[in-house]
């Protein structure tokens, strides 16, 4: 399996996700070091997975992810995603995915208006995807969030379509799995923390699974996401 991480000016979780991927790939035969692709490079090698990392691409100026969505590498990412190459967008990467239209909806300023960095619980809504295959449907995970604009919006029709097609990947929940308003850290519609495209080859999520993929950091609930991807895409 080969993975590419696209680095934008202002990305700051590129190394973190590289470390998490490397850890899941370690020891498995035929795995290469995840490569870093500079945002100006539209001509990067063929890979099995593309990751859009968290951070503040272009300073989050104008709108989060808006300018990154138009960089040369992104044009290529969109083309490959449409051809079926799996794409994972974390936090700022999720924002880029909605800006390019690869994922429906948009991410607005948090309802509380402040940047929020803390662990939250999310519920896995389906294990039927290359991203969530190592989780059980309904499983609760503890993962950190760190964002100012994670308030997911889409119109009612779109939300109904997402529900009907099983495109909601994760929802913010209580530690026991209950989906409540109190468990929603940013005001996201229907507590949505992550969504798939229709084919479930593109996932965008606000939480950072790469930040709790190592028990030395106080938790490893994010690790199965990367382990599962390596397994599914090898």
């Amino acid at each position: 399996m080969k993975a590419a991480i696209v680095v934008f000016p202002g990305s700051n979780c590129d190394r973190d996700v590289q470390v998490a991927l490397r850890q899941s790939m370690r020891g498995a035969p035929g795995h290469d070091e995840p490569i870093m692709v500079w945002h100006k490079d539209a001509d990067f090698e063929k890979v099995d997975l593309i990751v859009l990392p968290g951070g503040f691409s272009y300073g989050d100026y104008l709108r989060c992810g808006a300018m990154a969505a138009h960089s040369p590498a992104m044009t290529e990412v969109v083309r490959r995603a449409k051809a079926g190459v799996p794409v994972l967008g974390i936090c700022n990467g999720f924002q880029m995915l909605t800006e390019t239209g690869l994922l429906p909806g948009a991410l607005l300023r948090n309802a509380g208006l402040k940047f929020v960095c803390r662990d939250v619980h999310i519920r896995v809504e389906t294990s039927q995807s290359p991203f969530t295959g190592r989780y059980q449907t309904g499983q609760r995970l503890r993962v950190p969030i760190a964002h100012h604009d994670g308030n997911y919006v889409a119109d009612e029709e779109e939300l109904e379509r997402l529900e009907a097609r099983g495109q909601i990947a994760f929802r913010y929940c209580e530690p026991d799995g209950a989906v409540t308003e109190a468990a929603n850290p940013n005001g996201a519609a229907r507590n949505v923390a992550g969504v798939f495209n229709e084919a479930k080859t593109v996932l965008g999520l606000m939480p950072h699974p790469e930040r709790l993929a190592d028990s030395a950091l106080g938790g490893a609930d994010g690790r199965p996401l990367f382990d599962g991807l390596v397994e599914a895409l090898s």
Partner: protein
């Protein structure tokens, strides 16, 4: 020529910043404020003399980058100059 683009949230999209401003205005005694919506103003200078050509180009800029039409509307103002 100079142009100004107004980007506003579409009606019905929750605007927490607008709500917060309304709340703050209320606290300052401006209780008559019923609704606040916050938007952006972007000023541009364009090397273009034909207002219609400029407008077409600005529309494309808005659709591609300046506004996210999933959640935002835009309006274009052109100042053809003195």
């Amino acid at each position: 020529m100079k142009a100004r683009v107004h980007v506003t949230l579409k009606p019905g999209i929750l605007d927490p910043q607008g709500k917060a401003i309304q709340h703050a205005l209320g606290a300052l005694g401006f209780g008559a404020v019923d609704k606040v919506r916050q938007g952006k103003v972007i000023d541009l200078e364009i090397a273009e003399t034909d207002p219609e050509a400029a407008r077409a180009s600005l529309r494309e800029m808005c659709e591609k980058l300046l506004a996210n039409t999933v959640i935002e509307n835009y309006a274009i103002e052109i100042d053809a100059g003195p």
